[in-house]
Symmetry: C2
Subunit: 181 residues, 2 copies
Amino acid sequence: MKKTLQPQPLMLPLPAVLVSAQYQQRRSIITLAWAGVVSSDPPRIGLGIRPDRFSYDLIAKSGEFALNIPDTSMIEVVNYCGIKSGRNVDKFSDLSLTPIQGEYISSPMIKEAPLNAECKLDHLIELPGSHHLFLGEVLLIHADSTVLNDQGRIDPQKADIISFGGGAYWKIGEKAGIRGL
Amino acid sequence: MKKTLQPQPLMLPLPAVLVSAQYQQRRSIITLAWAGVVSSDPPRIGLGIRPDRFSYDLIAKSGEFALNIPDTSMIEVVNYCGIKSGRNVDKFSDLSLTPIQGEYISSPMIKEAPLNAECKLDHLIELPGSHHLFLGEVLLIHADSTVLNDQGRIDPQKADIISFGGGAYWKIGEKAGIRGL
């Protein structure tokens, strides 16, 4: 017998990613858990962002953003960028994060995050409700070599990724199986 | 110094969820990793599905689906439902899964998954490229009491959730921090 729970945005695991963006002289970083992959070809990710967030306009006006996947040493950064607004502070300076330039976008990526993706906004869907949906095409990925396995593939354990759920952050655990029949 | 990798749909962690749907006399289950939350209010989730998948029409025509969050005892089900097509088989029967009825939708939920959500399709966005984007509002959640913590909140460790990445499935690990400054 199951218990019923009030409707809530159920998905597990949830990511906790850092999205950085710049428009003209202003840059910022926002932590998002409402984020996921939308399509394989083109490689496209989706981000749900509230219209009143400072980063909303930076992405909407510049037409680009960087996706940064943090590791568990960055929990403080993840918390700060999810809770504080960038309207009156520069989060890169505040948190002593190192901005690095990509090849295709002007928005700075976060050097301290082991994985970064340069993304071009290709759809902004103004949904009714709390969040609008930003879709972005992944143009190029930058990866610390330490997070790659012998086949050059990203290894979630080596990347020490953060899962978010139940108000807490979680480390990735042991391998539970391999994809394939 | 980072290595550049060819564009790929980067997001970590990725979920591995089972979506079940029924239209008229046909039902099926599809495993998806291109899935995430889109908005809080309404609670809305997004699913990327290839137009040639059997479940695509079941969801598009019925206007509803069930989201089922599996645990790591269900890796074989997750693999099967991600790889086999439901066009010629009934996956519930094939895998001896128990269909249960919800309150708001006709599509069967999977009893063996500890978490289920009844969802109503509210947008189908025919994106250019490999996958179309289905957005669904969560109407009600059904949870095994074993996956809830003392506050009645879903606990990712108790739910024994599956993360997907690098071609493998992963257990959830230890707590890395709490949300809040």
